[in-house]
């Protein structure tokens, strides 16, 4: 087992360097430089431009810039944003909880509803409910989520006034960001009203972001459940006279969950990507918006390290899923 983990970890090192190289190259290939973008339509004195580029270390040859970058990275220094002069890590750690909170809420919504719908659809295979779930989940899978967000806002927030339009919490509440997770911070601040308000703000964005994972989880649960229900041990359990609910949820679902979990792990990347659009629509102060703006401002350190951090996260989650899967399924462990 240990060698399996070590082998997998070893594979991560070149991936890591590849990501640094790729992001480094990508952002520098975009026309325009940070100083120019900052000045906008204002006069950029060539001398001042040269000075600024020198101070930022951007006048060096590319390989030297890359080595600088890697050298700093090795010391754990993620650099500082060119736009705000704030350290990238500070910015990331103040915005990431917002994205994480949203993603977790979306995943929770998708997981609970998806599992339930999937299991019931599997048990009532071929019924109207089954067809309905499958149809709706395929529609969810086909959803352009930016549009979906707009439609939900139009209906629930603008027409019915049930949910807030955007943001994480009503501005009347002054909540000190201790953890960055609004739900936790409001509880720490001992403001139940604020907690409910934050929850209220979370509903619509979580539904929008959770739509595609919901569809995937529902479909996956159904098919995996169908497969498990055909297995011998289920028949045995039934024959033993165990109650149907016990058969389904204890014996069936537990085994059906393994592939579902894998899919959920793979969805983390999708979630973070989807968060870009969801955050744009709901003015959610998270990393998606931050990165898109950084690309626009040619904020090299933010783009490089922000993407690197997300990529590492995605890799980490996939790695953990991989290992868990290895535990669950010894055949995989011994494959190369």
């Amino acid at each position: 087992m240990f060698s399996f983990i070590a082998r997998r970890l070893g594979l991560l090192i070149p991936t890591f360097f590849g990501i640094t190289l790729l992001t480094f190259a990508l952002i520098r290939m975009i026309p325009g430089d940070p100083v120019e973008v900052m000045m906008g339509e204002r006069r950029v004195d060539p001398e001042m431009h040269a000075q600024a580029m020198e101070r930022l270390g951007l006048n060096k040859p590319l390989y030297a810039q890359y080595l600088d970058y890697i050298g700093k990275l090795a010391q754990g220094d993620l650099g500082e944003s060119l736009r705000t002069r704030e350290s990238v890590w500070t910015e990331f750690s103040s915005l990431f909880p917002a994205t994480l909170e949203l993603s977790m809420a979306a995943l929770l919504f998708a997981g609970i509803l998806g599992l339930l719908a999937g299991v019931i659809a599997a048990l009532k295979r071929g019924s109207l409910f089954d067809h309905g779930v499958m149809g709706i989940s395929l529609a969810g899978y086909s959803m352009p989520i930016f549009w979906w967000g707009l439609i939900l806002i139009m209906f629930f927030s603008v027409s019915l006034g049930w949910t807030p339009v955007s943001g994480r919490i009503d501005l009347l509440y002054d909540i000190e960001p201790k953890t960055g997770f609004m739900l936790i911070d409001t509880l720490l601040a001992d403001e139940p009203g604020a907690f409910l308000d934050a929850l209220h703000h979370l509903i619509l964005p979580a539904i929008v972001l959770g739509t595609i994972p919901l569809a995937v989880i529902a479909r996956m649960t159904r098919s995996s459940m169908l497969e498990v229900l055909r297995e011998d041990y289920i028949r045995t359990a039934k024959a033993k006279g165990l109650s149907p609910s016990r058969v389904v949820f204890v014996h069936g679902l537990r085994n059906a969950l393994i592939p579902v979990l894998t899919v959920v792990g793979l969805q983390v990347g999708t979630l973070l990507a989807g968060a870009v659009l969801t955050e744009t629509i709901f003015s959610w102060p998270g990393i998606g918006k931050w990165l898109i703006e950084a690309i626009g401002a040619r904020d090299y350190p933010v783009v490089q390290n922000g993407i690197l951090l997300i990529a590492c996260l995605v890799i980490l989650v996939n790695f953990v899923v991989d290992i868990l899967y290895g535990f669950a399924n010894p055949r995989i462990r011994h494959q190369r």
Partner: protein
């Protein structure tokens, strides 16, 4: 028996105390995050609103709602006869903010003023190199060449020596990049090796004291009790960041914020109808225009540029983009509210036949393709550049010109337009000190044509001579005459299609009082309160 009512009464009393302690703040919905809080490192209007207008003061101010310069940290000033020396007499007893990270031991004095300018001017100043991108606004205003020296005469007197006469100097001194910093705080930070704090924990003399910034969400301030113009009526100020203007409007309607900046012109009629809301408006000092690259084939011919001007339906453009009455059709390169606007000049009536005729004379074949660069997101001078570009495209198609719209991301467009890769580019400008020179020099001077910021790449020596002369003229009437002549030359040569001057709006709840909209697109809440 009385226990329960008594407890209830105590609870109610406690509750009311609690409510009193956290008095409802004035919440302003704004469009973007400030970049940081060390004002002189940044250039955007949003940062100026959130930092220069709240935390800081300058030697001089603009009188609210006008472009007139009035005393602020300087009580008065003397200008030498040659116009090269400005002596400022500072106000006494002005206090810097006291916070948990800084306690001032002295009042604001000449050292602070000298520090604030020398930091940006003197390459050997210990804080000069600490700004990684320099001092963009100071440098782009040409202050490096303009300022010869800034020196302390005595505790409350500072002398500025210029290298040349500069009529707009006092207006420049009232701009955000001239904010006065506490030298004492800076010294402490330098000693403690925490220079980054100047950007994240700002100290100034302004009406509001910085409390907290949650990135991309909100900035919180509390009122400065020692403000030299008196404590602001709002106990606390929150700038809530909502990038989308629809969102700002929604939040205003639900009273989540009491003021919404930059409402979309389309929404103005519905705000006016709403009994809970009101709008203040003003002609903004902006211009949006389409520059025609005079260094390109065909475009170098003034007849072609005239023809494009004749074919373009400015009225329809203004109505579709801004709505009737929310912007005025532009004639000149700067709006009528500024000095020396030439009222005799008029736009020609739209005439497709004449346009076609002119194109024919210039030998432009039917179906010639011109590129039009435009950006993918809206800004204050142009809420929807793609829409405008498509209208231009449709109009020019009627006279046999094909417009190839190239939508670009902002940074890329700037780069390409400065390189002169465009035939036409849609651009805009918001004046920041109310001086005509602030429009003409950056966008139409020969020097700007050389480095590409003059997107028309248009250099007319007579025009340039008038600009230079006006810059050195102090008498406003004489200056006005020079600018009027310059506009005639501009309109003869037609390097741009001047498109629109926007009206500026600020939407607010009905019970908001004391907010004055500024033609300089800055927003100051020092006198604003919710009744």
């Amino acid at each position: 028996m009385n226990m329960i009512p008594l407890r209830a009464a105590i609870a109610a009393a406690l509750l009311s105390v609690a409510v009193g302690a956290t008095a409802k703040p004035l919440v302003v919905c704004t469009e973007a995050s400030p970049e940081g809080f060390d004002m002189v490192q940044y250039t955007t209007a949003v940062t100026a609103d959130a930092v220069a207008e709240t935390i800081f003061n300058r030697l001089a101010d603009f009188k609210p709602g006008t472009t007139e310069v009035i005393p602020a940290l300087a009580e008065s000033w003397d200008i030498s006869d040659d116009g090269l020396t400005y002596t400022f007499h500072l106000r006494k007893g002005v206090k810097f903010h006291t916070t948990d990270y800084f306690k001032p031991t002295r009042d604001m004095n000449a050292d602070d003023v000298v520090w604030s300018f020398q930091r940006q001017l003197d390459p050997n100043h210990p804080w000069h190199k600490l700004s990684s991108v320099g001092f963009p606004y100071f440098e782009s205003m040409g202050f490096k060449e303009l300022l010869k020296n800034v020196e302390k005469v005595d505790e409350h007197t500072v002398k500025f020596t210029l290298t040349r006469r500069e009529a707009p100097f006092l207006a420049d001194i009232a701009m955000a990049f001239s904010s006065i910093y506490p030298a004492e705080y800076a010294d402490q930070l330098l000693k403690a090796n925490k220079t980054g704090d100047l950007n994240s924990k700002p100290i100034g003399t302004g009406p509001f004291v910085f409390q907290r910034y949650n990135k991309d969400a909100q900035v919180r301030f509390k009122a400065n009790p020692d403000y030299f113009r008196g404590k602001p009526p709002a106990d606390a100020l929150v700038l809530a960041i909502a990038t989308d203007n629809n969102v700002r409007m929604q939040k205003l309607k639900t009273n989540e914020c009491q003021i919404a900046l930059y409402p979309k012109p389309d929404d103005i009629p519905s705000i006016k109808k709403d009994p809970n809301l009101k709008v203040t408006e003003l002609d903004a000092m902006t211009v949006s225009y389409t520059a025609m690259n005079t260094s390109h084939k065909y475009m170098s011919d003034v007849r072609v540029r005239k023809a494009i001007d004749l074919a373009f339906d400015k009225e329809a453009y203004v109505n579709a983009l801004f709505g009737k009455g929310n912007a005025t059709v532009a004639v000149n390169p700067y709006p009528p509210t500024l000095l020396g606007f030439n009222h005799d000049l008029k736009n020609p009536t739209r005439d497709l036949d004449k346009a076609r005729q002119l194109l024919k004379e210039a030998g432009v074949p039917e179906g010639t393709v011109f590129t039009l660069f435009t950006r993918n997101g809206g800004g204050p001078t142009n809420p929807n550049p793609m829409l405008g570009a498509q209208m231009m495209q449709a109009d020019l198609a009627k006279v046999g010109i094909k417009v190839d719209i190239r939508v670009m991301e902002w940074g890329e467009m700037l780069k390409r337009a400065k390189n002169g890769e465009h035939d036409m580019v849609s651009a805009g400008w918001a004046g920041d000190n109310g001086d005509p020179d602030n429009f003409l020099t950056p966008m139409l001077s020969c020097e700007a044509a050389k480095n590409g910021e003059n997107y028309a790449r248009w250099c007319n020596e007579k025009f340039q001579a008038l600009l230079d002369q006006a810059r050195a003229t102090v008498n406003p009437e004489e200056r006005a005459k020079l600018y009027e002549q310059a506009q005639v030359l501009f309109n003869q040569d037609q390097p741009w299609i001047s498109m629109a001057h926007t009206r500026m709006f600020t939407a607010m709840r009905n019970n908001v009082e004391g907010y004055v909209i500024s033609p300089l697109t800055t927003n100051n809440f020092a006198t604003t309160q919710v009744k």
